[in-house]
Amino acid sequence: MNTFWHLVRRDITLARRQGASSFLGVAFFVIAVSLFPFAVGPDPLILASIGAGIIWVAALLATLLSLDRLFQADFEDGSLDTLVLAPQPLVALVLAKTLAHWLTTTLPLIIAAPLLAMFMALPASAFTMLMVSMLVGTPALSFIGAVGAALTVGMRRGGVLLSLLILPLYIPVLIFGVGALGAAMLGQDGSSALMLLGAFSLVSLVLAPLGAAAALRLALE
């Protein structure tokens, strides 16, 4: 357990010292969303009707972009070998790295989300639901993404392959995330979609680290 938190703290420190990585993810998120008003026109009614979906898709893509860094740096400098050889189960260490990744790259996106909701003319009543649904749903993105990142670690041009492997698996998160938000915007109860989103996150929390650990062992052979 101690090692777990040490690893989380180490990855957070690394991300903080490199500085730019969290910021770049948020910058991508903001720019990607602000492209849409140019594409579909500034009409607030249109923006509000597609805003929830666009924010979620941009969050998905921002997560995807950051994923290839999840194991790559450790793979290159050899610390991944140490992690695999460590007495602690690799599954727990994968979990720690994924948690740190979520804290350093996805949490900033959630904090930036209300700003984008304002850009997309979403009603103020939807802001809370946007943040709650992202808080509940994005862990699934990180965990499933970890499997893809582990499968493509050490590959040249792994990023394109990663998107092909992972994006189809993200579709349920997108559906339920936007579903919860859409229900809230219509003044309905979005809790059923939110619960399904939570269930998906929890299942991926349990199963995905197993796959990611197996894939990492394979990559280091």
Binding site: V147, L165, P168, I171, P172, I175, L196, L207, A208, L218
Partner: protein, 242 residues
């Protein structure tokens, strides 16, 4: 299980598959021939959809096969991962293009059927959409095989992906259906109605059986080709070394 392991020997597989293949091929031709005649000529046209209902006899079995082959691929992948049988890995690898082909056939025939029935080539209907996602999963799986140089490593990486995928297939399927019913009523897809007359059900089942034997034939063919390709590769390596 040990009884099953006997068939995992590539040499024994090569002999057995060679003996079985011609019979399976003949059976496939008979089944699909009968099925096509029955479906296209002998079965009645739908009172509402007229003759375009006959697309169903290709469309529905192809969609079934797309899903069935994905599950077969995942089962072989699990066997390959657990017992490290190269033959199971080869089976999984050989499944993917066939399954992707059937999924594509289901999508294309679905579009051809949708044009006269719904007036549009594509509808974001729940079942159509989940077939499209299934095609993406197949493509990702095949791309992962391509990305590795060593077949041993590629097979295990692809097996992990296939297992992650097979857990997700039902989740994706149900979430897409849920999403669809949220946006539009399900009345669109009830064209044929859920109950089907025996005069249509039987040709459909014959076609499905024919598609299954076709899958077995092509799978055995692909597996034999893959085994031979690996043997050639080994021989060439030996030649280069000596």
């Amino acid at each position: 299980m040990p009884r099953l392991h006997r068939f995992a020997n590539p040499m024994r597989f090569a002999r057995l598959s060679k003996a079985v293949l011609p019979w399976m091929a003949v059976l496939t031709i008979l089944l699909i021939g009968t099925g096509l005649y029955w479906a296209l000529l002998a079965s009645p046209a739908d009172y509402q959809q007229k003759d375009s209902v006959r697309i169903m006899y290709v469309h529905v079995p192809a969609a079934w096969m797309g899903l069935f082959i994905y599950v077969s691929m995942a089962v072989s992948s699990a066997a390959g991962l657990i017992w490290r049988h190269p033959l199971a890995d080869i089976a999984a690898k050989s499944c993917a293009p066939i399954g992707a082909g059937f999924t594509l056939v289901a999508l294309v025939t679905g579009a051809l059927w949708g044009q006269p029935m719904w007036g549009t080539w594509w509808v974001w209907d729940g079942r159509l959409t989940s077939m499209l996602i299934l095609l993406f999963l197949y493509l990702g799986y095949m791309a992962l095989w391509q990305a590795y140089d060593e077949p041993g490593k590629a097979s295990r990486a692809a097996a992990i992906l296939a297992l992650v995928g097979v857990i997700n297939v039902p989740i994706i399927h149900f979430s897409v259906e849920w999403w669809n019913t949220l946006h539009q009523p399900a009345s669109v897809f009830k064209v044929g109605g859920p109950s089907i007359d025996p005069s249509m059900l039987w040709p459909l089942l014959v076609m499905a059986l024919g598609f299954t034997t076709y899958f077995v034939v092509v799978l055995l063919w692909r597996m034999r080709a893959e085994i031979l390709a690996r043997r050639i590769h080994v021989l060439m390596m030996q030649q280069a070394a000596s």
